[in-house]
């Protein structure tokens, strides 16, 4: 059964230095507040897994929390580069960052395989590209047709962290709108934390919603606005202006560090 904890308690209890940690959310419901808590608690040497490492991973990387990134697209959507990610890869600042790089299809298959407790996912991809030399992909032969396919090692993180709209008092979670790989992340991870916009008495069924029963989640933390500047369908919209503004904030090391001090490190949370 999920424990209802504060975000600080949940991170303190479930995330350790050196863990493989996945904060997922495909544009929608990105667990930004949880990422900030990881930074405040000074986690180090993390292997960070995420299909689209956007602002939250730019911040974790720039603050020196990560030693490795497993990903498929590392940019600021519609804006451009992630400058902290680039600085880490191009100049080892503040620490060197190892990359394990996939395609979206490969990452999605690795998540589905992890959730299903299979050793690998299968895609008809990676073939003839330069990607296999820089990632964990092997060729396998279909035993029925003889077709050559790509096997992508399953994701099995120590901790999966996602954001959702609602939980009930028992810790059952419901999310709706663009669902990304959040369900797979929770099911593939050894431990999981879900931050939610609100705790409600009863989860009312929503079209297309995903429900995660309390017994597959370890901790639920109520963090209203916990996805900002991403969005929570039905609660608030994506702060597109901030994504644009992040380009200038993150471009310079000092500006970035100062912004993080003011907006993350010195923020007191419940």
């Amino acid at each position: 059964m999920a424990e209802l904890l504060t975000l600080a308690e949940a991170v303190s209890k479930h995330v350790r230095d050196g863990d493989v940690v996945a904060l997922e959310g495909f544009t929608h419901l990105i667990p930004n507040a949880a990422g900030h808590e990881l930074i405040r608690q000074g986690r180090r040497e993390l292997t960070l897994v995420r299909m689209t490492p956007d602002l939250v991973y730019d911040q974790l990387i720039g603050m020196g929390c990560a030693r490795k990134l497993v990903f498929s697209w590392g940019g600021n959507p519609g804006v451009g580069s992630l400058h902290r990610l680039r600085d880490a890869v191009e100049h080892d600042w503040p620490v060197p960052l190892e990359l394990e790089e996939h395609s979206h299809a490969g990452m999605a298959a690795a998540w589905a395989a992890g959730a299903a407790n299979l050793p690998f996912g299968i895609v008809r991809g990676y073939s003839r590209t330069d990607l296999p030399r820089h990632t964990r992909v092997r060729r396998v032969t279909c035993p029925f047709t003889g077709e050559e396919l790509a096997a992508v090692a399953a994701h099995r993180p120590d901790v999966g962290i996602v954001h959702a709209q609602q939980a009930d008092g028992a810790g059952n979670v419901q999310l709706w709108g663009i669902a990304g790989v959040q369900k797979e992340t929770v099911l593939a991870s050894a431990r999981s934390i879900v931050t939610v916009e609100e705790i409600v008495d009863v989860l009312e069924p929503r079209p297309g919603a995903i429900v995660l029963p309390s017994w597959v989640v370890d901790a639920v933390a109520c963090v209203p606005g916990g996805a900002r500047p991403s969005y929570a369908h039905g609660y608030y919209e994506r702060d597109n202006d901030f994504y644009v503004a992040w380009d200038a904030i993150s471009r310079d090391r000092d500006t970035f560090t100062e912004w993080m001090r003011e907006h993350v490190l010195e923020v007191v949370t419940a």
Partner: protein, 231 residues
């Protein structure tokens, strides 16, 4: 005739390639602009699929990200990312995929991963994202890329997506299509010249014997495009 920019010509030329009823996998930026323009001008039944899992999205304004809330609100269906890439893209349900890149070679192979050496890069680009499987999972790949020697290269720094299914490359100078396995200039835009296109290409560019001049954007196309961008 109204004045127009090179980017507007590019969006219009790409939009014209989309036919009504086509199912189109759309990335953010110019591809999204072109596909939404096609829906407004000549292909209202064009189905827009964004990799966030929104199938049949009908946005009223151009989204900044592939997962903007409006895409989900206006979609026929919203599916998870594993389902998007598994059942829909790999399942063969998509006709056209738009791709951009940092580099392209004469065979339509694309690099969106890195400039320079992978392990000590000059520029670390965002990476492949959906592109590697879009390039092999759709029937026809349309590439949108501004033409310049650093983008149209003799040799890619990294091969992210294979060019087998590239049917057309729309640039700010013209249109390239594969002829006998090599990208060949088949159209130049009215404001450009064959010579300009040659100079903006890092390999010796083949020019079709029957190379044509693109029709300039019509007033209707320009009005629709500007309304879309102002929304």
């Amino acid at each position: 005739m109204t004045a127009y920019t090179a980017d507007e010509m590019m969006a219009v030329a790409a939009a014209r390639r989309l036919q009504d009823g086509m199912v189109c996998f759309v990335g953010i930026g110019l591809p999204s602009t072109a596909a939404n323009l096609a829906r407004r001008v000549h292909a209202p039944g064009c189905v827009l699929v964004y990799e966030s899992g929104t199938i049949g999205a009908k946005p009223h304004r151009l989204p900044l990200s592939i997962g903007d809330g409006e895409l989900a609100e206006t979609a026929d269906a919203v599916v998870s990312v594993p389902e998007m890439f598994g059942y829909w893209l790999q399942g063969g349900r998509i006709d056209v995929g738009f791709l951009g890149a940092a580099q392209i070679d004469r065979f339509g192979n694309l690099n969106s991963t890195v400039i320079g050496d992978y392990d000590s890069p000059k520029v670390r680009l965002p990476g492949g994202g959906g592109a590697p499987e879009i390039a092999t999972g759709v029937r026809d790949v349309f590439v949108l890329l501004r033409q310049a020697p650093r983008a149209f290269v003799e040799r890619l720094d990294f091969l992210t997506s294979v060019g087998d299914r590239v049917r057309v490359v729309v640039t700010d100078l013209g249109v390239l299509e594969p002829r006998d396995g090599e990208l060949t200039l088949t159209f130049v835009h009215p404001s450009a010249s064959v010579e300009q296109a040659r100079e903006a290409t890092g390999w010796t560019l083949r020019v079709a014997d029957d190379v044509q001049v693109s029709d300039p954007p019509t007033t209707r196309e320009l009005l629709a495009l500007r309304a879309l961008e102002a929304a």
